[in-house]
Symmetry: C2
């Protein structure tokens, strides 16, 4: 076997047996869109569906990394195996690190039951990288009980993380007009649990009240619907950790009644669709390489045809 | 002819003759994805390519609307017909208004040579709506010499507007750490002209210096490349308008040497691709309606298959 070839079955076996190196290698394969990617995904499929996925999002400065670290401690205290995916250009975990390399999360660096990985956000300003769902599958098959996905909340990433996670945690900090603005703009709909971190600062209670008030105005107050709790934490002192774990448990219990399956089917559907679209896009040819698409574009610019008629031709040529 | 049918050739003829009502009607058709949309696009194609498209982007609070209004005045002073598309949830033009309805741009409301339209941003937080390029085609065919597209700069919308515009204007305000952060994050690459608005405030000169410095660090200093100017304006007093118009003229002249055509071909290509992908997506079936995609998603969740194998099946079923 040449050095370039990858023994996928053996890597997956090692990852399932708890080898951090094998997990790291598999995630690197999916991140680099390696030719073995399809084989990796096929090998992981039978071992998927165990991990519970918690998304953490919030504006820069609310304490996402500290909160992630606190949650890891809490989950490890329950004896659970934990994965962390940090999809955040500003995260201190940045740099393609697994278990120790350039990581500030020193509490957990030497814990063999914690996998930490930062993901590049590939052209999305703060958005989720294309390979995040695939990295999730690796951590899931490696026996993680919980995977925390941390992403900075700008633009669409809150919505993306909500599509990816079983439970979405929205972090805010006291007195951040930004946080509340963001909440107005869409975070309210995607959060399952709200946390006002840095709650020892002035204004924490009024931020809590504001968020509670906004939730009460939404359409989530019908009986049977999940009503997102609003908690307070001081993550660097682990204050509020028990209440947060309890809130996550409650949401997970609520989800178990059908909603978890629905979310996961929706998520898998979106993933399949994204892969299918990427395949079709590739067939169409990236502009500049694909002659047909470029010719069509020239014709549109010349006014000889319109984009819809041109699209028909491109599609029928597939 | 029933009331629901649309006489497209007559509407296009009226729009070309300068009827604001016909222009409004056509934009409404494209916004609502009306069945006549394809006929509208085909009818507009021969009349496209005249309008010069200027994109304006910037964080909330930098004065985008005031700057747009100032630019409209300047362009009208040259006797040009001007279109304005405000793709901005926070814009005072919000609400689907054309020429007068809920518009604060009072200076231009009664000017028959100015078309103003706000576009919903359809699920994108501040991003460009799907129908923006199509609305541009309507304004182009209606004889606009310049179309200003205003969008709030969050997340990916700066990049989107740069894809859409012939010249991209990035607005900043003095002392906004945010603005500079955004600049670092990607605005620097997309801006053709930078404007520090509210330049009568403290810190304007240092913001100008900061942006100039950052540009000098980039890869835009090679001979032959466009070097983005950094200007100062006080839009509500029209200060700096002449210099701004001059900078736009210069960029347009520079673009005329091949780059304008290249940008427009790239733009048309992206538009064709987006339409083609949407068509294919529709064939795949929106999740929840399309049985095949949902079945495939269920199988992925059950671990019976992986997303790649499922995507292959979905694509081959097209």
């Amino acid at each position: 076997m040449s050095r370039r070839e990858v023994d996928v079955p053996s890597l997956v076996e090692q990852a399932r047996a708890g080898s951090p190196r094998a997990v790291a290698r598999l995630i690197t394969l999916v991140e680099n869109d390696h030719p073995a990617l399809r084989e990796v995904m096929a090998a992981l499929a039978p071992h998927s569906g165990h991990a519970y996925v918690v998304g953490l999002t919030g504006s820069p400065g609310v304490g996402k990394s500290t909160s992630t670290s606190m949650l890891v401690s809490g989950l490890r205290g329950r004896g659970l195996r934990v994965g962390v995916l940090a999809v955040d250009p500003s995260s201190p975990f940045s740099g393609g690190a697994l278990l120790g390399d350039r990581i500030r999360m020193t509490d957990h660096v030497l814990d063999p039951e914690v996998y930490i990985r930062s993901m590049a956000s590939r052209g999305h300003l703060g958005g989720l990288s294309w390979s995040t769902p695939q990295a999730l599958r690796v951590l899931d098959a490696a026996g993680c009980d919980v995977v925390l996905v941390e992403t900075v909340g700008v633009g669409q990433s809150e919505v993306e993380i909500a599509g990816l996670a079983d439970t979405t945690l929205v972090l805010l900090a006291p007195g951040m007009g930004d946080g509340v603005q963001a909440a107005k703009a869409g975070i309210l709909e995607v959060g399952d649990v709200f946390v006002v971190n840095k709650a020892d600062r002035d204004g924490a209670d009024s931020t809590v009240r504001e968020i509670r008030h906004m939730i009460s105005l939404g359409d989530r107050t019908e009986p049977g619907l999940w009503r997102p709790p609003v908690l307070k934490t001081v993550a660097d002192r682990h204050e509020g950790l028990d209440e947060l774990l309890e809130a996550l448990d409650k949401h997970r219990e609520w989800m178990a009644d059908g909603e978890l399956h629905r979310r996961r089917v929706r998520r898998a559907g979106a993933e399949i669709e994204a892969i299918a679209v990427a395949q079709l896009r590739e067939r169409m040819g990236v502009l500049g390489h694909g002659k047909d698409l470029e010719t069509a574009a020239e014709q549109v610019v010349a006014g000889d045809t319109d984009p819809y008629a041109a699209a028909d031709e491109v599609v029928s040529a597939l």
